[in-house]
Amino acid sequence: MFVYEKKLQYPVNIKQTNPKLAKIIITQYGGPDGELGASLRYLSQRFTMPLPELKGTLTDIGTEELGHLEMIGAIVYQLTKNLSEEEIKKAGFEDYFVDHTTGIYPQGASGAPFTAAYLQSKGDAITDLHENLAAEQKARTTYDNILRFCDDYDVRDAIRFLREREVVHYQRFGESLRLLTDKLDEKNFYAFNPEFDKKCFRNQIKKK
């Protein structure tokens, strides 16, 4: 189950509204490489993962991504607080505004709504871990791209924290992949599905 803690993982305290920036950053809420997709990806994949280390890693990273989703929501909320119609027009925020006012909606920077097609749960640990490694890098690239358009210190500070976490998660998924291949027949890691073709384990996992 999940228990809510009434705090952000890292503080978000933005003094200057900026609806134009909010429209870019919302992509990490519901875009193709965003935190919602990340969380659903890991929390879904974990059910059929072999090895206790992999179940733990996916559960904990998937949970942390929910915290990141909340941070992105807080950033977008604070960037669009108390806007006047004048400010909305000036920032070109009308297109988001007509659909959602200043509500937080999971969509990409181009306005495409969130879809589960952004993630995969393949039931193959090798395949899924490779997807996850790629996903962490894609999110890191997205944060780097956001930082190119952002000179507000308060926003940069939170975005840089989130960017750094992608790097750490990449490291942990790399270790997960190594832990798994260490237990497989080293003659060919990549031709079998270790979740289904149990024979590919060097010493077959004993069922209790």
Partner: protein
């Protein structure tokens, strides 16, 4: 930053250090030194959490408060004191 935000940041710093170690331990479960380190950080956060919850209300619902349901009291995590 308000006094509340400063205290919350201190708590978050210890909790984040512990969380990052926990993630490390998922792939290095036999590293007892790091388990020790994680406990140290969580322990350091304890008195700060108690102080925070006493002054500003619960961080988790598990906190048994007196007779008022302070859980719903703002500011919520995405807000600041300015919103009130």
């Amino acid at each position: 930053m308000t006094e509340r935000e400063i205290l919350l940041k201190k708590i978050s710093t210890y909790q984040f250090a512990a969380l990052d170690i926990q993630l490390f331990l998922d792939t290095h479960p036999r590293d007892t030194k790091m388990v020790e380190k994680m406990r140290e950080y969580l322990k350091a956060a304890e008195p700060l959490i108690a102080e925070y919850e006493k002054k500003y209300g619960p961080l988790k619902k598990s906190m048994t408060d007196t007779n008022r349901w302070r859980w719903i009291k703002g500011p919520w995590p995405w807000e600041t004191e300015e919103d009130y």
